[in-house]
Amino acid sequence: MEHDPHLQRVLDRMRSGVLSRDGFLGTDPRPLEEVLDADRSAVAALGTTHEEVAARLGEVLDKARAGLGTPIRIGDRLVATHREAMGRIPCPFGGCGTFPKGEVELTDPATGESLFLTALGIHMVGKHGFYQGRGSRYRLEPTALGRLMQLGGG
């Protein structure tokens, strides 16, 4: 059991069926700290920061939301489509308030690769360095992000 009561509460909120059906840790067997560490290194290897990633993703989210459900071109390669959902969802880390539900599917039509963005997911990237566990629908794998959005130095 987790000795840090605050972290234990965070983990409890990240489980499936508490805030969302599948939770935020997906099927990832690794403990939260390991997930955070691994993604931190991956992001550093891309040559960028959590805040930068979150800012870029936030731009995509805003553009897609303005489309009200129709696919929007992002850059010269990508397409983003917003699917609305009513209601708000709190951040499992606590103390950050609530975020509008709804997802944006960001696709590269050439490769067929897709990522799913949510307002909460982007907040957790920027503020907590949390990209969600493997197996989560909304996991933002840093290498996939780097490829899709050509982040960082490259």
Binding site: H3, D4, P5, Q8
Partner: protein, 202 residues
């Protein structure tokens, strides 16, 4: 029932008390009860609260466990059951104390959070009980020893909390922040406590 190793009454008890609290400090000399020590020593208020709770638990459970040992286990030759029974007694007593604290001081209850039930698995508490039976202490001696051990644990955590408060304005290498620097300091305090060792002739 008289205690087998009874010599010089009050002075003997005083020696037990002082050695348990200082020279044989259950945390700094025996390194028991470290996890809550590391986590809670960040805040002075919570440290004092937890220290008092641990002292209370250790004192009473040592007394109960000593009574159990001297009056039930030893006469029937059941010393081998001490581990199981001590744990049952400690667990039940901590539960009781949780209810008590929640009733009397909700603020303290929230401040201690998960560390209150964690006292059950605080090895210092079980350790004190086992040291006690090892040395064949009677009930009164057990009570005093329990109090000394708990108080010694509280002393250590309060000392650490005070130091960590001062550390807030100090520059610490990032890799050592948190548990790293705390353990280093614990070691230094332990070295300091070795200076007490001349006080009590074993």
């Amino acid at each position: 029932m008289t205690d087998p190793s009874h010599a010089g009454g009050a002075a003997h008890l005083l020696v037990i008390l002082v050695s348990a609290a200082l020279t044989d400090n259950i945390l700094l000399t025996r390194f028991l009860g470290m996890c809550s020590f590391l986590a809670i020593s960040r805040q002075m208020k919570a440290s004092v609260g937890l220290g008092l709770a641990v002292t209370f638990v250790t004192t009473i459970t040592c007394a109960i466990n000593a009574a159990l040992y001297v009056w039930v286990l030893r006469p029937y030759g059941l010393e081998s059951l001490q581990l199981i029974l001590f744990i049952v007694v400690i667990a039940a007593f901590v539960q009781f104390m949780e209810m008590l604290i929640e009733r009397l001081s909700l603020g303290l209850y929230y401040a201690l959070g998960i560390f209150l039930p964690l006292i059950t698995v605080n090895c210092a508490v079980l350790g004190a009980a086992l040291f006690m039976t090892n040395r064949n202490y009677g009930v009164t001696e057990g009570l005093v020893f329990g109090f000394g051990s708990g108080f010694g644990w509280m002393l250590a955590i309060v000392l650490m909390a005070g130091i960590r408060e001062r550390l807030k304005t100090a520059r610490i290498p990032p890799a050592l922040e948190g548990p790293g620097i705390t353990l280093i300091i614990a070691g230094i305090i332990a070295l300091g406590f070795v200076g007490f060792s001349g006080m009590v002739q074993p």
